[in-house]
Point group: C2
Chain length 208, copies 2
DNA sequence: TAGATTGTTAATCGATTAACAATC
DNA sequence: TAGATTGTTAATCGATTAACAATC
């Protein structure tokens, strides 16, 4: 099993989601060609990706669905549970709390935080919401690994520092803020402005 | 000015956002090194990107901020207004309606739609919300180019088809649904499951 | 047997990285 | 002049694409 680059890695959850559906329909084998057709991808790319999972396929038959699912779950980290916390229970934050797909990927959001007192001490989508001054303590108590950042941009740095003080090792940053954190903290930016720029550029390209 | 690949393109909005801040501080010149340091990027990459904008820099001084901003606005499509509509005013949809950054990128959301009558005929963040059966007509009337899809996954295909019937040419798909649309419709997937998988994989990698 | 599919190797392409010359 | 920064060319790396052999 070889290493996956970022681009190949981004296709794995797509395979996984589709294969799980197929497993529910009791399909035992899936060919690379069938996956490619269903996802609108190039069959050669899919075959290459599947080969790199280490699962062996059978000519004329395809790959065993359950084995593929297991391999993909391992590769995407869905086979182990990650404890996360979320700060900022605004519209975006509560949308994320209510997103059911995360659970299937092994993400457990154990606590949320908000600066506004009226949003605290409730339970949203099964997750208790605490005031911001409880961040460090709660992160420590839960042993959380991942911090999800959906606060206003001007609070992002401060909250991120509290995450780190609580022992978090990765931050999923939904704010446009540029975080300045100690080495070794994994920060993944989730920036809608970036996605939109890519989309607009492509749109412009084709209208030329 | 050369072409930008997807990866380089994703850095342009980061430069643009920072340069706009610097412009407000009346900074006239920005060096690639300074941008790289502020954004945590490799200086070589930044220099290459800036060179490809076509703007000329001056050794020891840097690039003229205003010229860079103009070039980046053109490249990211922020210099022309795109008319968009949004379907699905749930938590995610209303979060997007309230996001102020889109406007600065040239995105104008002229109308929103929802299947629930109690969410219709209101105005959210300046955008009127109409019932779903008004999609085709409204898209036509506005001459909208882009459709933003934040409906539940099982409605995605149907709504996407209505977008297309109204004459939309690109869809920003926030649902996990696989859309089956005519050739020539640009579909950009915005899939949190994909981002999460990348994050979890990286997290796993380093803990090994 | 024939044909579809996997598996592997090579070729192409593009992006990143490195090195260095040019310039203010 | 010295030194920082841009601009350019070459080298490296990785991903995609293509071609074809192996296999059921």
């Amino acid at each position: 099993m070889a290493a996956f680059g970022t681009q190949a890695l981004q296709r794995l959850p797509l395979y996984l989601r589709l294969l799980r559906e197929w497993a529910l329909e009791a399909r035992e084998f899936a060919s690379g060609a069938a996956l490619a057709a269903a996802l609108g991808l190039d069959p050669i790319v899919v075959r290459k990706d599947l080969a790199r999972t280490g699962v062996r396929g059978t000519p004329r038959v395809g790959f065993p669905v359950n084995e593929l699912i297991q391999a993909l779950e391992r590769l995407t980290g869905a086979d182990r549970e990650i404890m996360a916390v979320l700060a900022g229970v605004g519209r975006l934050g509560s949308a994320l709390l209510g997103y059911p797909g995360f659970r299937r990927q092994g993400l457990r959001i154990g606590a949320a935080f908000d600066a506004a007192p009226e949003r605290c001490n409730l339970i949203l989508a099964g997750t208790p919401v605490f005031p911001s001054n409880a961040i460090v303590e709660t992160v420590l108590r839960l042993g959380a690994t991942l911090g999800i950042l959906t606060v206003p941009a001007d609070r992002a740095q401060r909250v991120a520092e509290q995450f780190v003080a609580g022992g978090i090792s990765a931050i999923w940053n939904f704010t446009p803020a540029q975080l300045d954190l100690p080495e070794g903290i994994l920060v993944q930016r989730e920036d809608l402005a970036v996605s939109l720029a890519v989309l607009l550029h492509r749109l412009q390209e084709r209208s030329v």
